[in-house]
Amino acid sequence: MSDGFALAIHGGAGVLPRAEMSEEREAACHAALARVLTAGESVLAADGTALDAVTAAVRALEDEPLFNAGRGAVFTRAGTHEMDAAIMDGRDRRAGAVAGICGPRNPVDAARAVMERTSHVLMAGDGALTVAREAGLPFEETSYFFTPERWDTLQETLRMEADGTLDDDPSRRHG
């Protein structure tokens, strides 16, 4: 319990068994998480709002290739990217969300644009992209969201499906 600010972040679920994580990767993940915390803390320490803090933190997470969102987006089985994001303000139940999009550098900013610039809560596809463009958000080519690690994971998953060796590890269902 605290009268001051508080912030928590998650970078998703681990995709490697703990024993298989190298010291270098572990250090890189800790460093990335620390950078994300700093992004949110800096907002809160300057008397910023919780809404701005979670936006800044998630934007930093999206920019980080180690985690599965935005720049580290996974591939669909068709080899494409589809991103979703949501944001909600505890003060007044304002909320915004986008689904099934690819283009905005930071999907959380597109969700916030839906919240702030429309009367809707959840928008998908081309309509969501139109809101993001009208908000002046930066867009990226699909190559920006490509990471070799995610591509290799897709290829390995499809190969295991094809030869019948794909296990039913529940972590495969984690976003």
């Binding site: 928590a8 572990e26 809160l44 919780a50 979703d84 949501a86 959840l122």
Partner: protein, 133 residues
């Protein structure tokens, strides 16, 4: 999936979640992350929740809203409410994953029922912490 929850100095809270989905998903499949009340929720400044895991299970259980409901209707604190939902309710329907949540008083809870997660937390006046698995 990534996400953040926060409480500011004015006592207000917020949540945000973002995801690129699960590897080799079918095109058009949407998980819990963008669904308010499932993977993301913050209302009436009671608690803020951002989830990551088996999206279909989180949707069926309305995980984030369920935690808020336990706080409002059963008088639970955010830690107990999140623990119940993640470690018992989700497990009962075969759902794996976890979430981060923050209460109106700034309490943080980070429960998960699977092998591992990447987490971090910062509380004013204390050293920040990062966690892996």
């Amino acid at each position: 999936t990534v996400g953040a929850v926060a409480r500011d100095r004015a006592g207000h809270i917020a949540a945000a979640t973002s995801t690129g989905g699960m590897t080799a998903k079918s095109a058009g499949r949407i998980g819990d992350s963008p669904l308010i009340g499932a993977g993301t929720f913050a209302a009436n400044d009671s608690c803020a929740v951002s989830a990551t895991g088996d999206g279909e299970a989180f949707i069926r259980l309305s995980v984030a809203h369920e935690i808020d409901a336990r706080i409002r209707l059963a008088g639970q604190n955010v830690t107990d409410a999140a623990e119940q939902v993640v470690m018992k309710d989700l497990v009962a329907i075969g759902g794996s994953g976890g979430l981060i949540a923050i209460g109106a008083d700034g309490s943080i809870t980070l429960p998960f029922n699977c092998e591992g997660m990447y987490r971090g937390q910062s509380i004013e006046g204390q050293a920040s912490q990062t966690f892996i698995y």
